[in-house]
Symmetry: C2
Subunit: 133 residues, 2 copies
DNA sequence: AGCGAGTTTGACAATCATTATCAATAAGGA
DNA sequence: TCCTTATTGATAATGATTGTCAAACTCGCT
C-alpha cells in the first residue's frame, strides 16, 4: 500500500510552487535550501511516482536531464521559452488525433508521442537581435 | 580545417546501413564487431559532427540516451518502434504549421519543435500480449 | 494506546552514458 | 618528403540516476 509521508508532500508542494520545469537535482537543492532534510534519492523516487500517477509531467531537456513540472490533469504539451524557461501548456486535440492516426496507419499500436515546441517568448525575442550569428 | 579520416567515413557508412535509430554505444559496438578498431570517443565525436552538419538526425530516447540516424535532407519527424527500433520518417506539413501557429499566437519566435511518435510496430505488437502484466 | 508487518527513507555505492585529457598518429598542403 | 596541426583513442573524470540495505516510520489492528 502507498503510504503518506511528509517527504512526498514536500516534493509535491515544491513542484507546485515552481513556474516551469525543474530537474530532480534542482528540486532537491531547493528543498534543502528551504531547510528540509529530505534525501536526494527520495526526491527522485517521489518525482517518478508523481509522474506515474499523472500529477507531474516529465520531459527530457536537450541535455538529457529529466525535467518535471506540476501538471494539471490530462494530457497536453508545452511551449517552452528556451531562454527564460517560461512554459505554457498547450492543448492539441488535433495533434493527438494526428499522432494516433499516423501510428495506426503504419500498423503501430500503443502510440505515445513527444510533442513540444521550443522558442523565444515575447520578452526574450526582443533582446536576442534577430540579426546574424 | 576538417580532415578526412577513415573513421569518420566508417561512422557515416555504419549509420547509413542502419534501419532505425542507434545509440553511439550501439554503433560503436557494431563497428567493433565488423572488425573496426575505431574508438568509442571517436564515434561520439563523429556522430556529433554529423548531427551538426545536418547529415544525421538526433533525438533522445525515453531512457535519455541520444540516438542518431542517417538523415535525408529536410525537416521531418519519426515514428519509432520502441521495441525493435524500426523507424519510419513522417512528413507533417500540418504539424509544422500548427507548431508555428501555436508559437506565434503566444508571442514566441524562432520556434523549433520536437515531434516524435513512439509505439509498437506491427510485428512487435503481436508479441507483446496486450493483456495483463 | 500499543504492537507488528511491511513500506519508505536516506547515505552511499554502483552504474551508465557522455565528455575531457593528452600524448601519439596521420592528413594535407608546401 | 616534411611540417603543421587536426584527429584519434585509451582512460580518467563527470554527472545524473538507480540500487542497496539497515533503520525509521506508517497504518491497520487489537
Amino acid at each position: 500500500m502507498k503510504r503518506n509521508t511528509w517527504q512526498r508532500e514536500a516534493v509535491r508542494e515544491a513542484l507546485d510552487a515552481r513556474e516551469g520545469f525543474v530537474s530532480a537535482q534542482g528540486l532537491h537543492a531547493g528543498l534543502r535550501d528551504a531547510g528540509s532534510p529530505i534525501g536526494l534519492a527520495t526526491v527522485y523516487r517521489a518525482l517518478a511516482d508523481l509522474a506515474v500517477e499523472g500529477e507531474a509531467d516529465s520531459l527530457q531537456s536537450p541535455e538529457g536531464e529529466s525535467l518535471y513540472r506540476a501538471c494539471s490533469t490530462g494530457h497536453h504539451h508545452h511551449l517552452i521559452c528556451r531562454n527564460c524557461g517560461l512554459t505554457i501548456e498547450i492543448e492539441a486535440d488535433a495533434v493527438e488525433r494526428w499522432a494516433q492516426q499516423v501510428a495506426s496507419r503504419n500498423g503501430f499500436t500503443q502510440a505515445q508521442h513527444v510533442v513540444d515546441v521550443f522558442g523565444l517568448c515575447d520578452a526574450c525575442s526582443l533582446r536576442e537581435a534577430p540579426g546574424t550569428t
